[in-house]
C-alpha cells in the first residue's frame, strides 16, 4: 500500500483551468473522498493520479516515486469506473482475471486469486455469467473484484455507486467501506453525493470550480466549513446563513432581531470586519436551533416536515429569509404562528461577506 502525493498539480484545457494548482498528501491506508458538484475537477484529479489524464504542470508521487509521466499500467493502481467498464464479451471470471493476464501470471495462480477475491465479495456463484445478465450491484462487485485481484498500491474510484439503484447504493457503500478496512488500501474516491462522502471518507476534499475549497474530516467540514461554499454545499439542507451587522458583541440580523455572540469571536470579528463596516454572515446548522421563548430571534413558522426520527422546521424571519431548524419529532407547530428561537452559541460560525471565508475565533488558525 502506498501514499499518494500531489505537488502543485494543475490541469488546463485550452487555457481554462480544470484543476487549479493543488497540493495534497494522501496517507497510507487512508480513504480520501473528493466531493464537489459536477465539473469541479474532482474526476480530472483522479484521472491524473491514474495517468489516464496527463498533468499540465506539477508532480505526482506514489510512495515517494515520481509517477507523473508514467503510463497508467506502470503505476500499480486500480481504477473503478462509474459505469463499471466490464467487458461484455467476457464472463465475470474472465473480467476479473483480465488484469492478472497482463502480468502473465501462471494459470493456477490466476484461478486461485480469482476464487479468493470472488469469495471475499460473495460473487462465486455468478463467475460464469456475462456482465449483461447481472444486476447493477453484482456488476459493480465484479468491477471491484477486478480492481482488488491485483492487490494494487492504491484504489481510485470514480463515482462507483453513481449508476446503482438507491437500494443497492446503501449496501454497496457499506461493502466498499468494509473492504477498505480489511484491505487497509489507500483509496481515493470521487463522488458528488455528500452522504457518501460523509459516511465513507477518513478525509474529504471539497472542490468547486477547479479549486480545493477545504480538506478535512467529515466532522470538520460539517462543523467548521472554511467558506460559504462548503457551508452551503455540506448538509441537507445546508447551513443557515443570515446577513447581520456586528456591533459590540452583538449581531443584529436584517430582520431586526439581535443576539449575543460567543466571547471568543469578539476580537476576531472586530479585526476581520473592519473593512465591511461590521457586516457579517452568520451561519449555523439546523441542529443548532433552539426553539423557545427565551430565544432572541423572532420568526413565524413557514413549514414543518416530519422526517421520521425528527422534524425539520422552516421559519420565516421578518425580512423573508427562511431558516431551517431541526427539532424533535413530537413538537408540532401550526404554520403561520409566531415563535422565538435561539442558536446554540457553540455552534455559530461567522463568514466574511466579501471574501466568503470563515472567520476563526481567537486562538484558532485555519
Amino acid at each position: 500500500m502506498a501514499t499518494i502525493e500531489l505537488k502543485q498539480v494543475e490541469k488546463k484545457f485550452a487555457e481554462s483551468f480544470a484543476v487549479q494548482p493543488l497540493d495534497l498528501t494522501i496517507n497510507d491506508g487512508e480513504f480520501v473522498v473528493f466531493l464537489g458538484p459536477s465539473g469541479c475537477g474532482k474526476t480530472t484529479t483522479l484521472r491524473m493520479i491514474s495517468g489516464l489524464e496527463a498533468v499540465t504542470t506539477g508532480n505526482i508521487y506514489l510512495d515517494g516515486r515520481d509517477v507523473t509521466w508514467l503510463h497508467p499500467s506502470d503505476r500499480d493502481i486500480a481504477f473503478v469506473f462509474q459505469f463499471f467498464a466490464l467487458y461484455s464479451h467476457m464472463t465475470a471470471r474472465q473480467n476479473i482475471a483480465f488484469p492478472l493476464q497482463a502480468q502473465s501470471e501462471s494459470r493456477d495462480q490466476i484461478t486461485k486469486k480469482v476464487a479468493d477475491v470472488a469469495k471475499m465479495l460473495k460473487i462465486d456463484h455468478i463467475l460464469d455469467q456475462k456482465p449483461g445478465s447481472l444486476s447493477g450491484g453484482d456488476q459493480q462487485r465484479v468491477a471491484l473484484a477486478r480492481a482488488l485481484v491485483r492487490r494494487p498500491a492504491a484504489f481510485l474510484m470514480d463515482e462507483p455507486l453513481g449508476a446503482l439503484d438507491a437500494e443497492f447504493r446503501e449496501s454497496m457503500r457499506a461493502e466498499i467501506k468494509q473492504l477498505h478496512i480489511r484491505q487497509e488500501a489507500t483509496t481515493v474516491y470521487v463522488t458528488h453525493d455528500q452522504i457518501e462522502a460523509m459516511a465513507m471518507g477518513d478525509r474529504i476534499v471539497i472542490m468547486s470550480k477547479a479549486i480545493v475549497q477545504q480538506v478535512g474530516t467529515p466532522s470538520d467540514v460539517y462543523h467548521n466549513p472554511s467558506n460559504l461554499f462548503v457551508a452551503r454545499f455540506i448538509g441537507s439542507p445546508g447551513m443557515n446563513l443570515l446577513e447581520g451587522q456586528y456591533v459590540d458583541g452583538r449581531v443584529m440580523l436584517a430582520g431586526g432581531s439581535t443576539f449575543s455572540i460567543p466571547n471568543a469571536y469578539n476580537v476576531a470579528l472586530n479585526q476581520a470586519l473592519n473593512d465591511t463596516g461590521g457586516k457579517v454572515i452568520v451561519g449555523f446548522r439546523p441542529e443548532a436551533v433552539r426553539v423557545g421563548d427565551s430565544g432572541e430571534i423572532a420568526a413565524h413558522v413557514y413549514a414543518d416536515d416530519l422526517h421520521g426520527g425528527y422534524s425539520m422546521l422552516h421559519f420565516e424571519l421578518d425580512d423573508g429569509v427562511i431558516v431551517h431548524g431541526r427539532v424533535g419529532r413530537d413538537s408540532h407547530h401550526t404554520i403561520g404562528t409566531g415563535l422565538q428561537f435561539g442558536v446554540d452559541p457553540a455552534m455559530v460560525r461567522f463568514f466574511h461577506p466579501v471574501t466568503e471565508q470563515a472567520i476563526q475565533p481567537n486562538g484558532v488558525h485555519a
Binding site: Y87, G132, R150
Partner: protein, 339 residues
C-alpha cells in the same frame, strides 16, 4: 368510501394494481396483438417477394433454353436445361452442315457436347469466366481486408487521440468520395498504363482499397465513437499497453461495425464495373465487365448472362449471410450502463 359499482373505471397507469402485459409468450399474448403480428409478417413477405422477383426471374432464366428465355409471353413452366451454364463456361465454334453430321454420328460425346450440338455448335475450350470470377474474389477480398484493417486503425486514432487538424483531415478523407468516380477513370487509366499497374491485381486492389478506405474510416469512426473509453482505460490501468487494449477490448466491441463495413466494402469492390472495364483486359479482368461479354455474336445469350449473374451473386450472399448476426446493431453493447 369506495363503493362497488357495476362498471369500475378503467385503471390508469399511475394507480397501483395497474398491470401491463409485457410478456412475449405466445400463450400470454392476446388475440389482437397476434393478428397485428401476422399482418405485419404478411406485409413483410409481400415486400420481400416484390424485391426478390428480379432475382427469382434471373434464377429461372439461367435454366432456360434459348427459345424459352425469349418467348413472349414469358414461360414459368419449362424444361430446365444447363445450356446457359455451358455457354457461360465454354468457348464454342459454329459447325458447318457437314461437320454437324459428322459430329452427330460420334458416340464419344459427353452431355455438354450434346447440348451444344443441339445448337449446331462444338465446344472448343474453357471460357475465361471462372478465371475472371476468381480475379473478382482475389481483388475484392484483398481490397476489403486492407480497407477495413487500415480503416479501423485510422478510425480508432481519429476517435481517441488529439490529432492536429483532425477535422480538416476527416473532411479531406470524406472529400475523396465527393467526385463521381467515373470522372477520374481516364486519368487513372493513363496513370496506370504509365506506371505498369494496368491490368494487374495489385493495381485493382490498390484502387478499390483507396476507394473504400474513406468510407470505412467514417463508418468505423462512428462505431468506435460509441464504445465508451472506459473500456480501454480500464485495460490501460490494469497493465495493458495501448495496442493490447485496442486488440483485446476495442476490437471485440467493434465487431458489429467491422462486419457492416466489411459487407459494404466487399459489395462495392465486388460490383465495381466502370474501372474494371477500363483498367483490366486479360490478366486481371473481374467478373462484372465480363458478364456482358458473353452477349455473343449470334444473338443475346440471356441464359448465359443469367447464369453468370447467378454465379456472381453467390459469394456476396454467403458473406452477408455469415455476418448477418453482427449487422443487427447493438448486439454486443451490454455492460456499460448509461445512468
Amino acid at each position: 368510501m369506495a363503493t362497488v359499482t357495476s362498471s369500475p373505471a378503467p385503471p390508469t397507469s399511475n394507480q397501483p394494481g395497474y398491470y401491463v402485459n409485457y410478456s412475449t409468450r405466445v400463450d400470454k399474448v392476446g388475440l389482437r396483438p397476434r393478428i397485428a403480428t401476422m399482418v405485419r409478417a404478411i406485409i413483410a413477405v409481400i415486400i420481400a417477394f416484390i424485391m426478390l422477383i428480379p432475382v427469382f426471374w434471373m434464377g429461372l432464366t439461367a435454366f432456360k433454353s434459348r427459345p424459352d428465355a425469349v418467348s413472349v409471353p414469358p414461360t414459368l413452366l419449362f424444361q430446365p436445361t444447363l445450356e446457359g451454364f455451358v455457354s457461360l463456361l465454354t468457348d464454342r465454334r459454329q459447325l458447318t452442315a457437314a461437320e454437324l453430321q459428322e459430329y452427330q454420328a460420334r458416340d464419344d460425346l459427353n452431355w455438354a457436347d450434346e447440348l451444344t450440338l443441339l445448337r449446331g455448335q462444338v465446344i472448343i475450350g474453357q471460357s475465361q469466366f471462372p478465371r475472371q470470377l476468381l480475379n473478382s474474389l482475389i481483388i475484392s477480398a484483398a481490397s476489403t481486408f486492407f480497407s477495413v484493417t487500415f480503416g479501423v486503425l485510422a478510425a480508432y486514432a481519429f476517435s481517441r487521440f488529439q490529432i492536429p487538424g483532425k477535422d480538416d483531415l476527416l473532411f479531406f478523407i470524406l472529400s475523396q468520395r465527393m467526385l463521381p468516380a467515373v470522372v477520374v477513370t481516364i486519368p487513372i487509366f493513363l496513370m496506370y498504363k504509365e506506371i505498369g499497374l494496368h491490368d494487374t491485381h495489385f493495381g485493382m486492389i490498390l484502387l478499390y482499397t483507396s476507394f473504400n478506405l474513406s468510407f470505412s474510416v467514417w463508418l468505423l469512426k462512428g462505431f468506435i465513437d460509441e464504445i465508451p473509453r472506459e473500456y480501454e482505460e480500464a485495460a490501460l490501468v490494469d497493465g495493458y499497453t495501448r495496442l493490447q487494449a485496442f486488440r483485446k477490448v476495442v476490437l471485440p466491441q467493434a465487431v458489429t461495425g467491422i462486419a457492416a463495413t466489411t459487407v459494404f466494402a466487399l459489395i462495392f469492390s465486388w460490383n465495381e464495373y466502370a474501372f474494371a472495364l477500363m483498367l483490366t483486359s486479360n490478366n486481371a479482368r473481374t467478373a462484372p465487365p465480363s458478364i456482358p461479354e458473353v452477349l455473343g455474336t449470334g444473338g443475346i445469350e440471356w441464359a448465359a448472362i443469367a447464369a453468370g449473374s447467378l454465379a456472381f451473386l453467390i459469394p456476396v450472399v454467403i458473406v452477408t449471410f455469415a455476418l448477418r448476426k453482427h449487422l443487427l446493431r447493438g448486439v454486443t453493447f451490454g455492460a456499460i450502463r448509461k445512468g
